[in-house]
């Protein structure tokens, strides 16, 4: 598998996704090798079974955007050929057509997903908090922290539907992320794969099926530790959403303060 720009796009524990993929391969006796691809390194996506890209701050996104653009056509061809991809947060945004930043500056993306992301301006709040999604991999949990709002093209499938949290937060639908063939884009970190073994295994399975044929299936595994973390994240998302739904105005400020004090004091 290839880990794109690990030193730059690594903001919210993105390393955890690589750790999880390796761990879950190892459990099944599958050898895995991670190749770190930084700006300027040779990289042919066709030679890989899986590609992962993480998130970065605005300045970091700008830093790798040009390099990513040069790799756009080969990545796109590989995705058409069924290459599984996980693109998180900033990496997800750059897999759309463009990211229009706070200052109006446009960073072009590689257009694997038919979508664009726009920052709504300094006045708008960032989307920060626990998230639960409904997806074809079941309930997916994670944490989001992004300023941009993502608008999907009319035929573009989302990765999932928001149950708790904000997601693409475009005002038009409750979509989160994007999905095209075996490429998955999402705002969720946390890291997303360790706590969502169904998604981690799903990506590995896609990779193995692409290489070895459709009848390949991963052996099931006792996921008690993973499920416990998953459950605690769901519980957190629910309890925090209660605090967020406190409305606006001076009375709401008091309610929020009380909620914060409760939080500081331990619930």
């Amino acid at each position: 598998m290839a880990h794109l720009y690990p030193d730059v796009m690594n903001i919210y524990g993105d390393r955890g996704n690589i750790i999880a993929l390796r761990h879950r391969c190892e459990l099944r006796g599958i050898d895995s090798e991670v190749v770190e691809v930084n700006a300027g390194d040779p990289f042919d996506p066709a030679e890989f079974d899986l590609v992962v890209i993480g998130g970065g701050q605005d300045r970091e996104q700008r830093r790798i955007a040009d390099d990513l653009l040069t790799r756009g056509p080969s990545l796109k061809a590989a995705v058409e050929d069924g290459l599984p991809v996980l693109a998180v947060c900033g990496g997800f945004q750059l897999f759309g057509h463009r990211y229009v930043g706070l200052d109006g500056e446009t960073i072009p993306g590689i257009g694997i997903f038919d979508m664009e992301t726009r920052h709504p301006g300094v006045e708008a709040d960032r989307c920060i908090g626990d998230v639960v999604l409904a997806t074809e991999f079941g309930a997916i949990v994670g944490f989001e922290n992004h300023g941009g709002r993502t608008y999907l093209g009319s035929g573009q499938e989302p990765f999932g539907t928001v149950v708790h949290g904000r997601g693409n937060n475009n005002g038009a639908d409750s979509s989160e992320g994007a999905r095209y063939r075996n490429a998955i884009g999402t705002y969720l970190h946390g890291s997303v794969l360790p706590k969502n073994p169904a998604l981690a295994d799903g990506l590995i399975e896609m990779a193995l099926k692409r290489r070895y044929g459709d009848d390949f299936e991963l052996a099931p595994h006792d996921d008690a530790a993973e499920q416990a973390a998953h459950a605690s994240a769901v519980a957190r998302a629910k309890s925090r959403e209660g605090d967020r739904g406190l409305g606006r105005g001076p009375l709401a400020a008091g309610r929020r303060l009380r909620a914060k004090l409760r939080d500081l004091a331990g619930r």
């Binding site: 730059v8 903001i11 957190r236």
Partner: protein, 456 residues
């Protein structure tokens, strides 16, 4: 003294009385908060009376560095006023000054007293503007809890603004080994005192890293030697800038059971009760500041030696034959330093990770994946996970290759009981804890009368 500042002192003293006597709290921020409301110029009015002031900021190590510096100055016979742990917003500084002020708003012997204030990264501009410091110490710049300030660039921006507001003779005390801190020397033509480590026996492993690049030409920094993260002997191959040679340099750093021994160039061996390489930088930063303030060589050596563990940072509790050590962690960089330290402890010692996700801890627990817990795999001791997000902590440790005991109960009392019963006699348990978990565990230890902190 402006009348308004005097009124602020009165109001703050009343607030101190009310919070202590009527609410039973030793709140440290409230008096300052009240004083700032009454007189927005309270910090300048009170702090301006002092002989000199030093501000200490940075992502990690500011509490420890400020403590060591205060000890050096005390050893030099100076009177020192300092803010307390965690009270590092301007209101915390005001609270500390109010406590020293008389009813007329005068601080006794102010003209021979030095202020040593740790400043929250974002509070630095306001503190610098009000206090007009003689020196500012910058320890390091790492990513912190990102739901707090956003980006590393944002924090660097606060610092540049602060530097623009200080007097022309203010000395910047900068970590030569952190290229992001070193960049601050280019903001303005101010005197600089550099500190850094020239003992290259540690580090070199890859570990968690986030790339930094040259502000002048945009080239990624290269490293002749990397200690950890982005800290090391850096150079820019684009424009030729490189790590400055530090005036306060550690030629040799030895980390023993009883603490650090640092051979400082021109000063000799300096010892401290603190452990871990990261505390060598904190010690050097404090010595550099002490040198700038004209402290004697004897005081520079003696001050650090009087320092034991700082609140929650390596605190030790003796419980019968068992020992519980608490290590506060706030971000991956700090946690990685503690993990490296634990890698060198007795391998039969137990290890625990208490992970809370409240506001003061950072609500996002993904930072745990940037901590190299993998370094602890293969130790003999038992491993526990606890806190509000104990399941997440357990999963992280599990994926790091550690065999984890069943997750501890979320209630601190229950967790503590389970741990103490399970611990073997004569062994030490090293617990990495987030901020609110630390508060809860300390409170519980005190409540059960189980142990008296060696700090108190």
């Amino acid at each position: 003294m402006k009348l308004r500042v005097v009124a602020a002192v009165h109001a703050a003293r009343l607030a101190t009385f009310v919070s202590r006597r009527l609410l039973g709290r030793g709140g440290t921020a409230l008096p300052g908060l009240v004083a700032e409301r009454v007189a927005p110029g309270a910090l300048a009015g009170l702090g301006g009376q002092l002989e000199r002031t030093v501000l200490v900021t940075g992502t990690n190590g500011k509490t420890t560095t400020a403590r060591i510096l205060a000890a050096i100055l005390a050893a030099d016979g100076k009177a020192v006023v300092a803010n307390r742990e965690g009270s590092n917003l301007t209101r915390g500084m005001v609270s500390a000054l109010v406590a020293e002020a008389g009813w007329r708003g005068r601080i006794a012997a102010a003209e021979t007293t030095i202020g040593v204030f740790e400043a929250d990264e974002a509070s630095l501009p306001a503190a610098a503007a009000a206090l007009q410091p003689a020196a500012i110490v910058f320890t390091n710049l790492f990513r912190d809890q990102l739901d707090r300030y956003g980006e590393v660039d944002t924090v660097a921006g606060f610092w540049r603004r602060a530097i623009a507001m200080v007097p022309d003779d203010c000395v910047l005390i900068l970590n030569a080994d952190d290229p992001s801190v070193a960049e601050l020397a280019t903001v303005r033509d101010l005197p600089v005192r550099w500190f850094g480590i020239d003992d290259l026996r540690s580090g070199g492993e890859r570990g968690a890293f986030d790339a930094r690049w040259c502000g002048a030409c945009g080239t990624d920094f290269s490293y002749d030697h990397r200690f950890f993260g982005h800290i090391g002997h850096w150079r820019c191959r684009g424009c030729g800038r490189e790590r400055p040679t530090p005036g306060t340099s550690a030629l040799r750093v030895s980390d023993g059971e009883d603490g650090l021994s640092v051979e400082v160039q021109g000063l000799g061996i300096v010892e401290t009760g603190l452990r871990g390489q990261y505390n060598a930088w904190n010690t050097l930063a404090a010595i550099a500041a002490g040198e700038v303030l004209g402290a004697s060589a004897a005081a520079l050596r003696k001050g650090p030696a009087t320092i034991g563990p700082v609140f929650g940072r390596q605190e030790s509790f003796a419980i019968g034959s068992k020992t519980l050590r608490l290590y506060l962690v706030k971000n991956p960089a700090g946690a990685n330093q503690v993990v490296q330290l634990l890698g060198r402890t007795d391998e039969d010692d137990g290890f625990a990770f208490f992970l809370n996700d409240r506001f003061a801890d950072g609500q996002d627990v993904s930072w745990t994946w940037d901590v190299d817990f993998e370094l602890l795999a293969g130790r003999g001791g038992r491993v526990w996970a606890g806190g509000d997000r104990g399941a997440d902590a357990a999963l992280r440790l599990h994926y790091a290759g550690l065999g984890v005991e069943p997750v501890l109960p979320p209630q601190p009392a229950e967790a503590l009981r389970t741990l103490l019963e399970a611990m073997d006699e004569g062994l030490t348990l090293h617990a990495i804890v987030t901020y609110t978990a630390l508060l809860e565990l300390r409170r519980e230890l005190a409540r059960q009368g189980l142990a008296k902190s060696t700090l108190d």
